[in-house]
Amino acid sequence: MLTYLARRLFVMIPTLFMISVLVFVIIQLPPGDFLTTYLNELQAQGEAVDPAKIEFLKRQYGLDQPIYIQYAEWAWGLLQGDLGFSFEYNLPVSDVVGDRLWLSLVLNFSTVIFIYIVSFPIGIYSATRQYSWGDYGFTLLGFLGLAMPNFLFALILLYYANVVFGTSIGGLMDPEYINQGWSLAKMMSVVEHLWAPVVVIGTSGTAAMIRRLRANLLDELGKQYVVTAHAKGLSPTKVLFKYPLRMALNPFIADIGNILPQVVSGSVLVSVVMSLPTTGPMLLTALQSQDMYLAGSFLMFLALLTVVGMFVSDVLLAWLDPRIRLQGGVGN
């Protein structure tokens, strides 16, 4: 098991390295950079031309140097926890990001938990009562969540949250808590606002989860050992939870690695629509204005999240299913 974990951890390093190269190249792809456009703008305004600053920025990031050196400096900074400098905000990226990373994590993890809480019981119910009204009903609900455009659903939920509960529209807290320190009231306000985006992002993920669990469980339910267990007089619940469910869980857990990036990228759009103070909207504007280091740091953060998600699902799988553990440790 330990060797397996070590191997998995080790694989993350080249993966992240490759991702960082890709991220850097992709950010550099559009013609021009923030500085050239910035310089043009400043020059023409005639009021704030400041070549010293351009020089300073150019040298600080080595923009006059070949691209591999630029990459090396950026990556070296990342390793030391220096996320770089946001041109747009004129601040270090770490100062710009602030609470956003944490709120993003809270949002994304809440969403994943929501997906599991909703799809797990529904999946079991649908499988054990196949083709019942309940099965059809929940399945329909799940597909509705999948089919409805996120932004539309978000707007509808926001509207009704406002009409019914008086929750302020958009954001993750009432406006008066923005810029305040964390307090109980602020956290309650976050909770009050959090459910809407969680439901919006979550519903699009539940349908897939429900169907997957249902299909896997149905496969197992018809197998010999289940029939035998039933025949020997074990209670149906005990049979279900002890054997077929465990078997069916395998892909369910393997999905953690997939669900994280799905949720994260889905949350960018919803965050923009709902004006959430998460990394999503900032990433979007950073990409639009070619604020490369801010965008790069966000993308690396998302990549890290995905890689860690994959790792977690691998570990859980290994723990759950000895076959995987043994193959990982012994084979090749």
Partner: protein
């Protein structure tokens, strides 16, 4: 006092007589003004001695707002008002709404001294004497004096490291910079050998040039006043490269990125970027008072919440704001009106001062040589215009309440001619096709799309600032009708900065943006939006850049019509009023003839949402950036809460 010898100086005269009147009115009111009650917001601070009493905070002669003339009532102190902005950069709107200017427009668009006590202009219009209010103080309590003007002139714009290109253009006449003199502690003078028609309007602009800076504060960041080692230490502590970078960073009077910088505005920023909520609190040393001598503003705090533009109508409908016009548009009107029943607000429709609501800008200075050639052919631009069904746009998008128009001055302007508004605005596909065929663009591919001279398909990518979804909707309609003349239209949404920058560098073929801003132009308004002198003008950014950078960057105008425009612009600058009108008319004629920009629709009323308990906001106003500063000329510092 001064006889007007030169008729061209009537604008100066108007401004000047306004000054005399205001000072006279002011003297009278100061005599009767009683001792005033303290602003409740500051009572504790004054009682504890950390802040002087109101009378000691105000200038000797504060600016008394003419409530009777502006139809306002005396208000009560307190409260806050919330408005929503689309992005955190919009905190600069605080400077716009605050509208504290050396001289500024009143509600009737006359120039009046505001921060200044008076401003004298000689009859030639080349000597401007600025009188500062005695005892006027920066928001930190330090005196505001001639030194602050000197600091700007000598230590900022004439410092080679801070401002390598030198002072802004309006402080030049031709190539001659202003002569700056300090007459005494409260009087400064700017003069030139020739008249400077830009000086006053520039000072009153919605984005003002801030020719005064808080010298006492900024000196600590300036190499002339600070020990070099100490300064270097500060620069290094912030991880910057030089003191000039530090100074520029610290001193951003419009972008408000430094919350410690002293200011003269009614409300002071207290929140740093990045944030989604910006709080501005009242300036204890603000210079305006109501006729009873109460220091303005009435309202203690101004709050900008930042939110996705798409959510703004919903948030307004949910009663989350007290005052909102930004981001709202006519299409939100029915929804807002519907929610009016449950919420405590009024929706008012204000007139707009813009000449057109939206216009297409073919980039005549684009880098693509083939497109440049095509776009510069007037037949092409006329054909594009003829192939737009403006009536359809009006009906589909604006309930028919707007008006098909070119991008030009409004009928209320004394310069208006009907043909400016109407030429080439009829929907006539046949004529458009004929024009394009006559240009030799008659080859088409299998889809019926015309081919450019180099064989590429005629696909026009129209870039948008991504802020106004109506622009995309209009382009959808325009695209349909352009298809009928064999032109494909693609929309590319960008961010405003990116869109501008792409246009500046010549990558843009065509863009859509708001039409001209000042539709109410008079002969003495600068015709900058119609001549190639601004890089911001998306139809000729490089020519504008050339003019603005004094030919250091960009390209010289090389179309005969553009040269003619520049000729008329020079005439406008040096003529008397009759000559100015003539030059203006010629400029408008050339624009109308050449369709340099293609106006789509105009006269779209602006919904303004105001809480019912908020007083002193006019029922009917003009919603315009320049002149007007949106709410600025209606003086939000006089708004108050009746509850």
């Amino acid at each position: 006092m001064i006889s007007i010898l030169n008729p061209s100086m009537s604008r100066m005269h108007r401004a000047f007589s306004g000054l005399v009147m205001t000072t006279g009115f002011l003297a009278a009111s100061v005599l009767v003004a009683p001792a005033h009650a303290e602003v409740p917001y500051f009572e504790d601070a004054v009682a504890s001695g950390s802040l002087p009493a109101m009378n000691d905070r105000l200038p000797e002669h504060p600016h008394v707002i003419d409530f009777a003339g502006e139809g306002k009532e005396i208000g009560k102190y307190g409260g806050e008002f919330v408005t929503i902005m689309g992005r955190s950069k919009d905190i600069r709107m605080a400077v716009v709404y605050g509208y504290a200017r050396l001289i500024g427009y009143d509600q009737d668009l006359n120039l009046r001294p505001d921060i200044l006590e008076a401003l004298d202009v000689n009859e030639e219009g080349n000597v401007f004497t600025l009188h500062i209010r005695k005892g006027h103080k920066w928001s930190d309590g330090e005196p505001f004096t001639a030194e602050d003007f000197r600091y700007y002139w000598e230590d900022i714009v004439n410092n080679d490291e801070l401002f390598p290109v030198g002072p802004p253009r309006f402080l030049f006449v031709g190539n001659e910079p202003a002569t700056f003199e300090i007459l005494d502690e409260y009087t400064v003078r700017y003069s030139w050998s020739q008249p400077n028609p830009f000086f006053l309007t520039e000072l009153a602009a919605t984005r003002p040039p801030f020719i005064y800076r808080p010298a006492h504060y900024l000196k600590q960041f300036h190499e002339n006043y600070r020990d070099a080692d100490e300064l270097q230490a500060m620069v290094e502590e912030r991880g910057l490269r030089s003191w000039a970078v530090l100074h520029t960073d610290i001193d951003r009077p419009y972008k408000l990125s430094n919350i410690h910088r002293p200011s003269l505005e009614p409300w002071l920023i207290t929140t740093e970027e990045p944030s989604d909520r910006f709080v501005f609190v009242r300036n204890p040393y603000y210079h305006r008072v109501d006729p009873e001598g109460n220091q303005l503003p009435y309202i203690d705090r101004m709050i900008f919440n930042i939110s996705n533009a798409k959510l703004v109508p919903a948030k307004v409908g949910a009663g989350e704001v007290d005052l909102q016009s930004r981001i709202l548009s006519l299409k939100d009107y029915t929804f807002l009106k519907q929610s009016e029943a449950n919420q405590n607000y009024d929706v008012r429709l204000w007139d707009v001062g813009a000449g057109a609501y939206a216009a297409l800008y073919p980039n005549l200075t684009c880098s693509d040589p083939v497109w440049r050639e095509v776009l510069r052919d007037v037949r092409f631009r006329r054909a594009l215009s003829l192939a737009i069904n403006r009536t359809e746009i009006n009906r589909v998008m604006f309930f028919g309440l707007a008006q098909p128009t070119n991008n030009t001055v409004l009928p209320k302007s004394p310069l208006f001619k009907p043909e400016y508004r109407e030429s080439y605005t009829d929907f006539d596909v046949k004529a458009a096709n004929q024009l394009l065929d006559a240009m030799g663009l008659d080859e088409r591919n299998g889809e019926g799309i015309r081919l450019l001279p180099d064989g590429r398909q005629m696909e026009i990518i129209v870039e948008t600032s991504g802020e106004n979804p109506e622009h995309d909707d209009m382009l959808e309609l325009v695209g349909d009708s352009w298809r009928q003349v064999g032109i494909k239209l693609f929309v590319k949404g960008l961010q405003r900065e990116v869109m501008r920058n792409r246009a500046y560098t010549g990558e843009t073929i065509m863009s859509i943006f708001n039409g001209i801003d000042n539709g109410l132009a008079t002969p003495n308004t600068a015709p900058d939006e119609f001549v190639p002198v601004l890089q911001d003008s998306l139809q000729w950014p490089k020519w504008g850049q050339y003019y603005q950078t004094d030919s250091e960057a960009g390209e010289a105008p090389d179309m005969p019509a553009a040269k003619e425009l520049m000729e008329q612009y020079r005439k406008w600058q040096t003529s008397n009023e009759a000559g100015q009108k003539q030059a203006w008319q010629a400029i408008l004629d050339i624009n109308s003839e050449n369709m340099f920009s293609i106006g789509l629709i105009g006269n779209v009323p602006q919904p303004v949402v105001i809480d019912k308990d908020m007083r002193n906001v006019p029922k009917k106003g003009i919603h315009s950036w320049e002149p007007g500063a949106f709410f600025g000329i209606y003086r939000p510092d006089t708004f108050w809460w009746d509850r």
